[in-house]
Amino acid sequence: MGATQPQRLEVGGAIDRSRLVELVVDGTTVMGFAGDTVASALVANGALRVGNSIYRGRPRGILSAGVEEPNAFVLVKGEHDESMLPATTLELVSGLDLRLLDGIGVLDQKPDPAEYDKMHVHTDVAVVGAGPAGLAAAREAAATGARVVLFEQDFALGGSLLAQPDDLVEGLPAAQWVERVRAELEAAPEVTVLTRTTAFGSYDSNHVVAVEKRAEHLHGTAGDGVSRQRIWHVTAGQLVLATGAFERPIVFADNDVPGIMLASAVVGYIGRYAALPGRDAVVFTTNDSGYAAAHALVRAGATVQVVDARDGGPGERVAAAATAAGLTVRTGSAVVGVDGDVAVEAAWIARIDADGALVGDAERVPCDLVAVSGGWTPNVSLHSQRQGALHWDDDLAGFVPTAPVRDQHLAGAVRGTYWTEGCLVEGAAVGQTAAAAVGFTREDGCAATDLDVAAVDEERAARAGRTRQLWLVESREGGYATHFVDLQRDNTAADVLRATGAGMRSVEHVKRYTSISTGVDQGRIGAVNAIGLLTRLLTGDDARAIPPGQPGQDERVGAPGSAPDGIPAGGAPRPTPGAIGNTTFRAPFTPVAFVALAGRSRGELFDAARTTPVHPWHVDHGARFEDVGQWKRPWYYPRPGEDMDAAVARECRAAREGVAFMDATTLGKIEIRGGDAGEFLNRVYTNAFKKLAVGKARYGVMCKPDGMVFDDGVVLRLAEDRYFATTTTGGAARVLEWLEEWSQTEWPELDVVCTSVTEQWATVAVVGPRSRDVIARLAPDLDVSKEAFGFMEFRETVLASGIPARICRITFSGELAFEINVPTWFGLTVWEDVAAAGADFDITPYGTETMHVLRAEKAYPIVGQDTDGTVTPQDLGMDWIVSTTKDFIGKRSYSRASHQGAGRKQLVSVLPVDRSLRLPEGAQLVESGALGDYTGEGLPARPIPMLGHVTSSYHSQALGRSFGLALVKDGRNRIGQTLIASFEGRFAEVEVADAVLYDTEGARRDG
């Protein structure tokens, strides 16, 4: 390529010729100017060819000059390589080192070190798109004093005006007009102009999400703390969509050869970047807009032949201009193929009939550029993301919005207004309307009042109807294997034909069968052409079989399945694209990096980590942690040389034989206050709390109305009108919400208030036969004797340290145990005091794994592990906790038919015959003998009935063997039976036993 920029025009363009910028493409240095994109620099260097196509490896060239690009993708090397960036939107900055891609990127496995952040703002008016319509809208809205946010994905304002900087706008050259509006907007105090910012998602309540590129263009001078990209969340009172339109290519043979380019892109490369894509051009167009490319090429010194598919040629004004410029125009003709492999060498031109078939011989015209225009598709993505209605306008030959979404406005090419003056009028009008809708009008009375929107509508209609809907050009040789529809996905007309041949009738099915529109460009290049092809392929009965319900699809007359409008019965009439409809538009409009969406929510900031006041001690003592909800809980405390099993065995022995202690601070804690607190809890828990004596505690279970266990915990009665309930660690927030919901919505007459106090209390569980000795040392004022301090009681006392404490005698292990509750800020001190007081007894810290083993040996269920929302207290063997005398949430469900008789899964224990085998939790249980000849290889010949599954599984130090808990159909009647556990393609015999395996008579809790 070298550094000569051979295709750079001598004058013109919005590039800064004083600032040469060097970039490296596949190891070769290429020169461009500030103001270039990577693509325009390539065009200026005569390098139209980019990578090869993704599947077929066909040479490809730059097709467009914008976000619709399907071919020119690059990988930008850096600290973190970024793939699949369109060269057509990538701003040229110094130091770029690129690799051209073959339609697919490579995800860099290195972490991205850059910072990304988010901004949340509210605005009166948001405007998407800074072409003539968007600029006019923003200017009018800003002039009222309204807060305005203007989004522009390009690094420059102007939109279509950028390509034609010398056109006059309000009496000024377009480039100057844009600068004037920019200055006005920047001077307005309440206006935010966001360039390099793509609004990619539009959501309810006019919530627009956009991504802003903030750093690259500053050439590394952005400075510390400036994020590389920012996600904007903008909630707008009114939203103006001035999102423009995309030009469509034309489907003909070999229409993917480098040198075939959208006509509007040719205009852009010449006008904006002074880069000439070709010196001998053929312009192939189905509409008037292609002529702009012809004029631009002629002015740039290229030779041009115009091939106009319309029999009648262009409109009067366009025809006159063509004649004046000396353009050669062939009407009723088409480019039916090209010569060349890596670059266009010649175009074959022939007359075509109404079906796009050749009439007579084709003529070979040598050329190096074929500029194509197959008509225009309004960019309705953001409109459609909000379910804004569309319809096919057969005169405009495009899907256009039927009406704006509520509190939204449409202006310019997005509604088919394809000329600058029309865009200015519409933009100004909606800018005023939008501002007025949120209460802003110009105080100076200078509002543009001559905005004749009706005249724009008339002119739009007058200009319409000049596009030939040429969905397919036959080739000289026949066949459609190189008639590309979606260049990025390498899909051709032959693929569409295959889809309809396979019976696909819905555009959604054709999309998925072929993969058209599933690439990065999301169908901007291929979708409408694919729909157009379907109008040729689905006729008569096939057309009547097109299912309804697509965006932009014509309303059906009569019942679902009846013919779309305009398709008479019988014969072979052709539907319009409106009979087929569009595929659904979804966010993001253009790709957004996950890392940008994550923003600062990465690593430690991904989610809050909750730690207890004792956490530093746990860390210092080598605890391994597990996440329980957001909490970091000690899992086990390995000593040097110990693995997890050894540590857990030692911790279990300490708790069962001596004394151990655990940080139970994470349990959810809720205070329930009020004169009706007892009545309230009576209704919520399955067992009774109203008559619980002050100073006593009771274990309780709460259920949903369907009778299924929801949460459990111990409730203390602190005073006549005060209860203190504990919840599962993970259930604290849900339980508080549940209590508040019922107190507010069903029983507002009850005097009750619920407050989370989880963060206010630290809890140390002291467990084991020697725990009483430890508590006696800590709390000398307390009579801890069995007689004076009964099970399920609590005492308020002052510890030897002077710290006030609430000590409970409750157990989650079956052993004699106490729980010391102190205000959180004393948590670490009291924990250390417990450690000191127990040192003589070799008091041992234990974590959640030991807690699980100990509780499972006693069949204390963990809600959410041994239950799954389909388990009742009775299923858990806890009939004793279900009151028969009072009503409570869920009680009615126990008399439902589904809760009667046999067949419910019940909690039992399972003992593997191999006493060392620890079953995986989730292992399925089946009848012994149910396997038949199934060996575990592949799938069984017929389904084998499942009896249940293992919910918990551990090695028991106390029992000297492995064991599990399981939910088993009719489990309690199966005690003593042998079942088969199936897991990981293996089988093992297990014996069903009573759920409680250790201390079945409950003798140990009193020490």
Binding site: T745, P748, D887, K891
Partner: protein
């Protein structure tokens, strides 16, 4: 993202709220007087209209109060917001 007009706190983003399904479905005064089918209707069956729907919301990250709203299930537009215990608005009078 919906902007929801909390009766206590004013317009706030949807992420501050929790959803509670259909409004005006009272817990039966005497569940035990119901047949299994009637109880199942309460437990498992809710309306699923295309159009206006009175539903419950709770301002979890705000005042933590439950309230009711009428939302159009086609457009997600919330036409009415009213306090817990207030009657369902007369939709025939228009939003």
């Amino acid at each position: 993202m919906l902007i929801i007009d909390c009766p206590n706190c004013g317009p706030r983003p949807e992420t501050e709220f929790g959803y509670g399904g259909q409004a005006h479905v009272a817990y039966p005064a005497d569940p035990h007087a119901l047949t299994d089918e009637e109880w199942a209707q309460y437990l498992f069956y809710r309306d699923n209209p295309k159009g206006s729907y009175a539903e419950r919301w709770v301002h979890s990250a705000g005042c933590r109060k439950w309230f009711n709203a009428v939302r159009d299930t086609r457009t997600y537009e919330i036409s009415h917001v009213y306090r817990q215990g207030d009657p369902r608005p007369d939709l025939s009078k228009g939003a």
